[in-house]
Symmetry: C2
Subunit: 329 residues, 2 copies
């Protein structure tokens, strides 16, 4: 018989989830953490709802991930927000709401996925809460820190900066397509399929870039954000916050090789959930950053005074617009 | 026509909620906060679900609060966790999930209640997330700080300590009874009714005690917790964590004066949500603490070596048990 939350109760559930959490920090009214001397606290919260942000078969949405993937991916998205601020993680809390008929094994698997991701990036679950609801949801709050002079804000882009992306864009969207359309997937080489599905199910927050940036003396002047909402939205948000514009060079954007260039470019611009960093900095420093970020990193455009974002494609300047941005309701 | 979240969209909702949040800290991937020099970070997360922890008429549960009350009370419960750790607040994040048919005005009122409570205790909303769900829920993460030597843990109670409660217990439960049973309420003087309903709808986290404790040199040796789950559960949890037992003196517990002594005592022990502090410390220091905490604060028992919790009532020792503790599923 499958054990559900109703059979198990909250005390038993918490006992089962404890192995996935930092042992010494659990068990009081709150967790106690130490910040590295002189660093500031960076905090970000994401809410993820079954049937909206992920699917485990409790609603009509097609299932494209295991519960472990859901745990990994939910936390990776949050850690990516820390990376976008130039911060390294201190710990995280998880607020779980779940239906009474939810299998306990599913919840354990989600926590296992989160714990695996946390461990991979040198952090852990330090607290949280569990409660009953009619829908499964996770609210993750990540805590990180950074020296004040190394925090990355999105409003610091300057005219003359170039735009660097730390890796390929559109891979997560391509991975989703492989999972939703097996027929389409059958036209794609197996190794590519696997890489894209991995990008979708197990995205990697670019905390390695933060480690590299910490070693640069003096600190680089940067503006930045992550590309969780797609490359177009990332550049639009930097430009809006900085009071500038940008030209994106279509032929320089690292896209997936799916045999349909237009589709791949659309996925890169609007697909989202690649969790790469989009950074604006002076051209002289950009090449070093690309080298550090890996072989798909690239300089993909420049910051201009005119407050618009254009895509330069085959010699033409096309406007970039994101009408449906953030319409989560 | 009533504006719902579906009419409004996420961008518009966020713009409407912005006035209730810390202006300068919003708008990047994460919020940046500073800790007082040498202090540690204290973090606690609570999840609150409509129809489970509060009711605004979207489920069958009777409505006993306005949306503003729900906001105040949800945050107050979280701030009480900080007080129980000896911490003062730095800021909080709010993860909101809400149905598309939810009135925007209701959400604004909840945030207004949270912002009012935050302001009353010298803090503010510094970040968060909003998204669609089929049920209304709030996930609040409070961030606080304390000097390491002033953090209050629950596992530090010692045999010979007395148990202090910082105020009356059972008032929140009595307030709920007034709201659910107007007939019963009609037998209670209006001033008492009002005070109890206030205790239920607008509980006050005891951060004033933390301020007083900060002034004590050297720091008091304390064990402590808040009484969110009732006085009995609070004492049981301290005893369990500290490997000791306790005797609670029934005639010393500050209870509500509702004309039914047995019921008032039950509400004090098991009613919960009074959000007072329950502190264990040496008898010599306890009286000063009571004086600082107010005229309903009292010494209500003592810590004993035998690992059981007893209630001393009319000369008899009765066992205190909390079977249904934490059964939230």
């Amino acid at each position: 018989m499958m054990l559900t939350l109703a059979d198990c109760g909250e005390l038993e559930l918490i006992a089962r989830l404890r192995p996935y959490c930092h042992r010494e920090l659990m068990g009081d009214d709150a967790a106690v953490l130490s910040l590295p001397l002189g660093e500031q606290l960076i905090v970000s919260t994401d809410v993820l709802v079954e049937g909206v942000h992920f699917s485990l078969g409790m609603t009509d949405t097609p299932v494209t991930m295991t519960p472990q993937d859901v745990g990994w991916r939910s936390l990776a998205a949050n850690l990516s927000d820390l990376a976008a601020m130039g911060a390294l993680p201190l710990g995280l809390t998880v607020g779980l709401a779940a239906p009474r008929n939810c299998p306990v094994a599913m919840i354990e698997s989600i926590y296992q996925g989160m714990a695996t991701c946390a461990q991979a990036y040198g952090t852990s679950i330090v607290g949280g809460d569990t409660c009953r609801s009619s829908v499964l949801s996770l609210s993750i709050t990540v805590l990180g820190s950074a020296p004040p002079e190394r925090i990355i804000y999105r409003d610091r882009a300057q005219v003359g900066d170039v735009i660097v992306v730390t890796g390929v864009h559109g891979a997560s969207r391509a991975g989703l397509e492989c999972l939703l359309s097996p027929q389409w997937a059958s036209t794609v080489p197996a190794a590519l399929q696997q890489a894209w599905i991995q990008a979708h199910q197990r995205p990697r927050p670019r905390l390695d870039i933060v480690h590299w940036l910490r070693q640069q003396v003096p600190p680089l002047r940067l503006a930045g954000i992550d590309s969780s909402d797609g490359l177009a939205a990332a550049v639009l948000q930097i430009c809006q916050a900085s009071g500038v514009g940008a030209v994106l060079w279509a032929d320089q954007i690292p896209i997936v090789d799916d045999g349909d260039h237009q589709q791949a470019l659309n996925w890169a611009l609007y697909g989202g959930e690649d969790f790469e960093l989009v950074l604006c900095l002076s051209p002289e420093l950009a090449q070093d950053l690309c080298t550090a970020a890996g072989d798909r990193a690239a300089i993909v455009g420049e910051i201009i005074p005119e407050k618009r974002v254009h895509l330069k494609l085959n010699g033409e300047l096309l406007p970039v617009q994101v009408n449906q941005l953030f319409q989560h309701f």
